[in-house]
């Protein structure tokens, strides 16, 4: 069993209303100094040891992310 983390983020040039909402709300709560927030998704997968990187990449691209508007990164973590 391996643990895999996939982070999916809206592409830089794409509007990110969620991140924007967070960034706007922070100063109202007295938190200064946060200039930019982007919000995306974080997936944690448990995968069998024979699942190779290529498969993981395809899972991320086809399922976890929407390549039209999102970027993603896949990494294995020791568990």
């Amino acid at each position: 069993m391996a643990r895999v983390v996939v982070d999916v983020m809206p592409k830089e040039e794409i509007l990110d209303p969620q991140g924007q909402a967070v960034a706007n709300a922070l100063p109202r709560q007295g938190f200064e100094g946060v200039s930019h927030v982007r919000q995306g998704k974080h997936f944690e997968l448990e995968v069998a040891d024979d699942v190779d990187d290529d498969t993981l990449e395809r899972i991320a691209e086809n399922f976890l992310a929407n390549p039209v508007i999102e970027d993603w990164s896949v990494r294995r973590v020791e568990s």
Binding site: K11, E13, I14, L15, Q20, A21, V68, I69
Partner: protein
Amino acid sequence: MTETTHDTVTSPERVDSTEYAARTPELAQPYRELGLAEDEYQRIRRILGRRPTEAELAMYSVMWSEHCSYKSSKVHLRYFGETTTEEMRARMLAGIGENAGVIDIGDGWAVTFKVESHNHPSYVEPHQGAATGVGGIVRDIMAMGARPVAVADPLRFGPAEAADTARVLPGVVEGIGGYGNCLGLPNIGGEVVFDESYARNPLVNAMCVGVLKSDELQLAHASGTGNKIVLFGARTGLDGIGGVSVLASESFSGDETGSGRKKLPSVQVGDPFTEKVLIECCLELYRSGLVVGVQDLGGAGLSCATSELASAGDGGMWIDLDAVPLRAEGMTPAEILSSESQERMCAVVRPCDVEAFMEVCRKWDVTATVIGEVTDDENLRVDWRGERVVDVPPRTVADEGPVYQRPVRRPAEQDRLVADDPGTLARPGDAGELRETLLRMAASPNLCSREWVTSQYDHYVRGNTVLAQPSDGGVLRIDEQSGRGIAVATDCNARYTRLDPYQGARLALAEAYRNVSVTGSKPVAVTNCLNFGSAEDPGVMWQFQQAVRGLADGAAELGIPVTGGNVSFYNQTGGDPILPTPVVGVLGVIDDVARRIPTGIGAAPGEALLLLGETHDEFGGSEWSRVVHGHLGGTPPRVDLSREKLLGEILALGARDGLVSAAHDLSEGGLAQGLVEMALIGETGARVVLPEDADPFVWLFSESAGRAVVSVPRGEELRFTELCSARGLPCTKIGVVDTESRSLDIQGVGELPLTELRRAWEGTLPALFG
């Protein structure tokens, strides 16, 4: 890396100014990549007396696109104007040519409504494409000075079982719901139709309805020298400028990875919260009298808003692009002008009102910036970093684009299609086969319950929805005191239109009209969204021309005006166009919404079920021929609009006098389907007996137009049938409502328990889409 045959000019070091353009006439420009034809480009050069700057080229290319300029449809659309009489115009406060048509509905109220297509973007990115389609049409309605009060969504998808439909449909529904629900606009109607021809070209049409006091109309024009141009709402980013990115030099926009902006998706992401706040902000600005003119930013962004405002006004306009609040770094003038960032509006404001305007925007936390002013000369001028990048006569951009008389030819295969009569198809013979056919049809994707879709839409918000899904027409209360309200319905049977585009458009109109009528409302106006294949295909242009004529002639026969519409060409995959799909929306008025007629039966025991209208053996383009035989051929049902009008009048009288407790129009699937729906929606059984001499198959499944089933309280049966016979509307008693029974019992077919019908009708979409 793409091959560039043109020179790029704008870079961090150099601006393609009008002055530079005048000095470099020979510079090659990528007009073809921007979708302009050679002669169109030459015409721009003639207008300006020089080559256009990159910013000007971007502006002309988007504004002269089919979508913005209507260059292929204009010559046909004129027919709407030509067939609209003064009498039809009487209630119309704004018509074709404005952002949306406006109709006076009495008591000082006016209603505006319009449909827009967002077909292609919804195929590329279903969720965001559909969401921003809703956002766009809502801003159109706001630009009339109205409060948006409802949306509806006519949709077309590829085959229900196709894998790609499982990608597109749920995304589209989520997008429409996600955006509309968050705006607080009840969704009160629409369509879901499946057909092979939409497989790689779904149709996502969105309708919005708005309400205003009849003296509050806002028109989009920029007048009054010295008045300020204010851009407000979201910041401007690199959204939807995929096409224009050919203008950006690599050095200017390329990022570290060297991919540059050429890979920019032409997808926009919607931010419904920003739009919701923008709506409230706009309405407060209107109420406070702080706006001289207003325009929404939709396709073609600032290019469109500025040139249209200036073109409709009495002076020129000056814009300072450096003032535009940006979301991305290093945007070029062409990009800023073409950006399709959502949730933005543009207003013309008197200088003395600017501070008050800004105050309202601050209250709503809406970014607002003065970006220019109305000038006393003729031209639209745009400056960037101290240099003039645009200097054009605005009318040449907005109104005087190219106009084409495209070749029109009735396709040779049309005769073969019409000759392929469904009369030869095998029909169900005995009761068992009829029963099986009925159940199979009720479960078929085009006839089954739409609940899987509509339960994802809020239809309660704002507390004025009197009828919504499942109901033939959506009905909204407008005035809480008087109960005055409106009804809307959209319809189109594209199979009929394929067989006969002229009659098909009239049938779409007839059905939408009837759907409004069965709610007890009086139809008063028409809008449309004409979805067709390539304008360069003479066969498609024939379909288009015929459909426009059919719709215009039909509206004239009914005496209600076409107040506006939308054209979407190039809906095709390779050489195969979609079925011609002229979606027709009809608006109706009802004096007191408490009198509206619902669809479901069961108000009281023993009510009579009456079939209004005549049933003929008509199966061309029918749902039966599709579901059972996969067949499309013959001629569509005949349409008699004077009969539709009569039916409408009788229903309105019946509603007013309480003679009708339920009504449902008959269309796809015929009487059988109509009865199934009335029973299931009302959760009440009925016993149906067809006339002695009736061919049960024809009576149950024919799609003859001009028909409805009504449920009439016992004590009113005589009065109602006499009303029909006095006015010459055929009326046949076909059964009684049975509040005790839990089944639909049709003589000659057998008993159909409601549970079995419900399983068939409601199971299909959840099984397909989860």
